[in-house]
């Protein structure tokens, strides 16, 4: 299972970097979404996939082998929410920029350089 996820993460990173290098702002944002999801998956599998084991046990201290680690899931939940919020903001920014300038071309963004 980890192998499949690792490959998926690699594919997502590749797709993300490819999209980042495109000229359209919208495609750039899609690239950010890919990268952000790849990173979320990376955090998610950081403690390995442990199937069919509870995360919290009451009573006696159980052996660590019988426990799933809940922390990466908590972390990734936070990261997903933050990432979602940021993507929404970037889309709003892109929309506003398109409204003012009528362009979606990153090469047109040369006003503020130099």
């Amino acid at each position: 299972m980890e192998i499949i996820l690792a490959i998926l993460i690699g594919v997502l990173y590749t797709a993300g970097v490819y999209m980042l290098l495109r000229r359209s702002i919208l495609k750039f944002i899609i690239g950010i979404i890919f990268l952000s999801n790849a990173t979320n998956l990376l955090v998610f599998i950081s403690s390995g996939i442990i199937a069919g084991k509870p995360a919290f046990v009451d009573g006696t201290t159980p052996s660590p082998n019988n426990l799933a680690d809940p922390l990466p899931q908590a972390l990734v939940l936070t990261a997903i929410v933050i990432g979602f919020g940021i993507v929404v903001f970037t889309l709003a920014l892109k929309f506003k920029f398109f409204e003012t300038t009528g362009t979606d071309d990153l090469d047109q963004l040369q006003q503020t350089d130099n």
Binding site: I32, S36, L75, A79, G85, L93, L109, T112
Partner: protein
């Protein structure tokens, strides 16, 4: 100690109040009052650290390596006091310099959420919590930078957003890998594990990702291009906030991480820091000297100064780290101040472009004095703060035998002096250009507009006059950073490293 959550809690409370307060005057009153309170609280917290104490607080009473800990040591205390001083000055300054759509509570809401993020980043003792604070900073700065909705600001905003988002993703990926390797994200616990680790090379992947992430946030040499492309577009008070707080949080985290737990394979990392520091200084300084817009000169100049802080980290002796901290504090104050003064110049003359202005020395001597203070502090003229900051760094470099970086630092000081003299000559000494200038177009600044700049200028002067005291504080901070036994024990409740 519960009180160390206050620097996060006060801005949060202010956000809640300011969302409701719709009246502009009331919002301004609340923000000035609130930031005064914040400054007072930070000062009290800093004084309570006397004698090298470290305060910790486990949020929600979860024990240290499992829950989120807040940690206040000398380094975070110093940064906290400086940041709240800047926030206080800016909350006064914005009353006069926010125009049009900005003149309502919307600005203050995001101003204080930025403050909350910065204070949180200084206080937190948990690496993932740090990520969350960075996102808080990021989202509020997105809003602040595009608040005017002009074409330039939106374009600057897109560039700022793009690179900083990629930085955040590097940070998160680094966190994931670090957790996979160590099973903890509490910074003290990480230090406890990694300092006794037997396979230090394995940690380099995380260290590299963190270095890239904070290199982007701190605007280090090959990663700084978002900064000059966006800082000069926004309203001058927003630019001053960013100049004073944002990049310095990146530097703070670099110093914290690379002294606390990324201490393996150190020869490689320290040499890399020295090379990057030198390049950052020179490239920033040279780019600054080629421009004629004050905001652009000063934006490139921020980058050049970041190099000095990283130089202190790269030399890695107690004296050098103390120098880096001293420099960071000095730079936060002086850099914010010089942006405030450039806003005042713009207000008086109607332009940021040096070729369009001139003759300010005759028209407003007080503005000239206010400019001289931060400009000479940045250039490193005694008795102002910058002289001692650079002196400590250069002395530590010579002591450690790092002559090349010392030579680069001294040469860059010349470049700084050159850019400052250029602004001085063009804006103050030169006769005003005839074509545009008439006597009536000069607007005399009122005292309240000047007040924030006066406070920050006086701080630069006092930091220079009482340099021995400040150096004493930074030295304690540096010792706490380099020998983190005390830090680890206070967070982990007596667990011996």
């Amino acid at each position: 100690m519960n009180a160390i959550a206050l620097p996060i809690f006060i801005p949060f409370l202010l956000i809640l109040i300011l969302v409701v307060v719709r009246h502009t005057r009331a919002a301004q009153f609340v923000s000035v009052l609130g930031s005064t309170l914040l400054f007072a609280v930070s000062l009290v917290l800093f004084v309570s650290l006397k004698g090298g104490k470290i305060h910790t607080l486990n949020m929600g009473s979860w024990e240290a390596p499992f829950g989120i800990s807040l940690v206040l040591d000398y380094f975070s205390g110093l940064m906290l006091v400086t940041a709240s001083l800047i926030v206080l000055c800016l909350s006064v300054y914005t009353i006069y310099f926010m125009d049009g759509e900005h003149r309502n509570n919307k600005f203050y809401v995001f101003f204080f959420s930025l403050t909350m993020g910065v204070n949180g980043a200084f206080l937190t003792g948990d690496a993932f919590n740090l990520y969350v604070w960075f996102e808080v900073i990021l989202i509020s700065s997105f809003v602040l930078i595009t608040l005017g909705n002009t074409k330039e600001q939106l374009e600057g905003g897109i560039k700022y957003m793009a690179l900083n988002l990629i930085g955040s993703l590097f940070f998160l990926a680094g966190l994931g890998l670090l957790y996979g390797k160590t099973g903890t994200l509490n910074m003290a616990h990480l230090a406890h594990i990694l300092r006794t680790s037997e396979q230090p090379v394995l940690i380099n992947t995380s260290a590299a990702l963190f270095f890239l992430a904070f290199g982007i946030k701190a605007a280090l040499f090959p990663l700084f291009f978002w900064l000059p492309a966006s800082y000069h577009t926004s309203n001058i008070s927003v630019t001053s906030i960013f100049a004073g707080l944002l990049t310095k949080v990146g530097v703070y985290v670099l110093i914290r991480f690379f002294t606390l737990f990324f201490v393996q394979d150190q020869i490689f990392w320290l040499n890399l820091f020295l090379v990057i520091a030198g390049l950052t200084m020179v490239v920033g300084g040279m780019a600054a000297s080629s421009h004629y817009d004050t905001r652009r000169i000063l934006s490139y100049h921020i980058i050049s100064q970041i190099g000095y802080m990283i130089m202190g980290l790269g030399i890695y002796t107690p004296l050098a780290i103390a120098g880096a901290i001293f420099f960071t504090i000095h730079n936060m104050v002086a850099k914010t101040n010089i942006f405030l003064v450039s806003g005042l110049i713009n207000r008086a003359k109607g332009s940021f472009y040096l070729k369009d202005i001139g003759g300010l020395f005759k028209q407003s001597p007080i503005l000239a004095i206010l400019f001289i203070l931060p400009a000479f502090a940045l250039a490193g003229v005694p008795p102002l703060s910058g002289f001692f900051a650079k002196f400590i760094l250069i002395k530590s470099g010579i002591d450690a035998g790092q002559y090349i970086i010392v030579a680069v630092a001294i040469a860059t000081a010349m470049l700084t002096l050159y850019s400052m003299i250029k602004i001085w000559n063009e804006a103050f000494l030169k006769k005003a250009p005839d074509s545009i200038e008439t006597e009536s177009s000069f607007k005399k600044p009122v005292f309240a507009e000047l007040l924030p700049s006066i406070i920050l200028g006086a701080t630069s002067l006092l930091m220079g006059l009482f340099a021995a005291t400040i150096f004493g504080y930074t030295m304690v901070a540096a010792e706490q950073l380099l020998v983190p036994t005390n830090y680890i024990e206070s967070v982990l409740n007596g667990l011996k490293p």
